[in-house]
């Protein structure tokens, strides 16, 4: 069904991640209408209540907004998207650095390795 979930992590968190990624990569552009809860639930083969929970969370992050009766849309606030993009990059970098640090690499060594890499 297009999307494999990791069973160990709450599904709504994974849906949040997925939609966030789509927004960051501009697969979902500002102002674009999101599929309905029902459609998303079918697309991901998950419980509609879970989709609902994920969308509510995304809304509180300011990444999507609800227009009554019309559905949910990607935020028009570009700065919110930018902020979220930065935060995600920061988070992923941290994860990366942490795992490198575990291997005993310091910052300069990491940069060196990165440069060597094609």
């Amino acid at each position: 069904m297009g999307f494999n979930f990791n069973g160990n992590v709450p599904i709504y968190l994974q849906i949040i991640e997925r939609i966030k990624l789509q927004i960051i990569r501009k697969e979902l552009v500002p102002g674009q209408k999101l599929p309905s809860v029902r459609d998303l639930s079918l697309q991901y083969s998950v419980n509609p209540n879970t989709v609902q929970k994920a969308l509510a969370e995304l809304e509180s992050l300011g990444l999507i907004f609800t227009e009554r009766t019309n559905g949910k849309f990607v935020t028009l606030d570009e700065s919110a998207i930018k902020r979220e993009t930065e935060r995600t990059i920061e988070q992923k970098l941290n994860e990366f650095c942490c795992s490198m640090a575990e291997l005993g690499l310091d910052k300069s060594e990491i940069i060196k390795k990165l440069n060597e890499k094609e």
Partner: protein, 230 residues
């Protein structure tokens, strides 16, 4: 939140053997609840009591606040593990049958689901494989606009592509006003669609939790948690 189904301190014995032992749980409106347990843990016995196929020894079962009766049968759409259709009928005749007896049967919906299966309306059930008959049953059961859907092992013994069809069919037809109680021992397959999990072992409820909370708390899939606990 209203409970569409509440099972209160229910017990059932066959001879000396207590198959269901003081079981209580409820299914709130708009939720999909998974009743998960190994074969022979008492899941099917509970479903049969909900559907008046077995008498309750002790305790009480309420459906939309009413005791199990002819009236509640109109509210519940039950998919048993058995193939319960009269084999001499054609698919069309089974639709007629459901239309005759259930006022909430949505024929158009049934027709749509049947088209997805690529089946002929005039095909006779006797000439179909067991798997096909089970799919027809699922179509019939999910085409009712019932309050409570009770599905017994809907994924048992089917191939992966059929599993997807079944899951999609269930999700497609599940509305906010209804609830689903689903039993299975193939937990990983239903993980994504259940809100609440009820673990049952040897006729006793050993865990009753929100699925996402449980995953978050234990950092593990329901399947894993089930294997650890049961």
């Amino acid at each position: 939140m209203t409970d569409l189904l509440s099972v209160k301190n229910v017990s059932k014995s066959f001879g000396d053997k207590k198959v269901v032992d003081d079981v209580s749980f409820s299914v709130p409106k708009g939720k999909i609840v998974g009743l998960l347990g190994k074969n022979g843990s008492g899941k099917t016995t509970i479903l049969k009591m909900i559907n008046d196929l077995l008498t309750v020894d002790q305790g009480e079962i309420l459906i939309c606040g009413q005791k199990v009766s002819t009236k509640t049968k109109a509210l519940v759409s039950f998919l048993p593990e058995r193939t319960y259709l009269n084999p001499t009928l054609t698919v069309k005749q089974t639709f007629d049958f459901f239309e005759d007896f259930y006022s909430d049967f949505d024929r158009e919906k049934a027709q749509d689901l049947l088209n997805d299966l690529g089946l002929d309306l005039n095909a006779r059930l006797a000439k179909m494989s067991k798997g096909m008959k089970e799919k027809i049953q699922l179509v019939l059961v999910m085409s009712r606009r019932a309050s409570l859907y009770v599905l017994d092992e809907p994924l048992g013994g089917v191939d992966p592509s059929t599993r997807d069809y079944i899951m999609q069919t269930i999700l497609k037809n599940f509305g906010e006003e209804s609830s689903i109680l689903i039993t299975t021992h193939l937990i990983s397959d239903v993980e994504k669609i259940i809100d609440q999990v009820v673990f049952i072992d040897n006729g006793k409820i050993i865990l009753n939790r929100d699925a996402e909370e449980l995953r978050e708390e234990q950092n593990a899939s329901i399947d894993e948690i089930f294997r650890r606990t049961v």
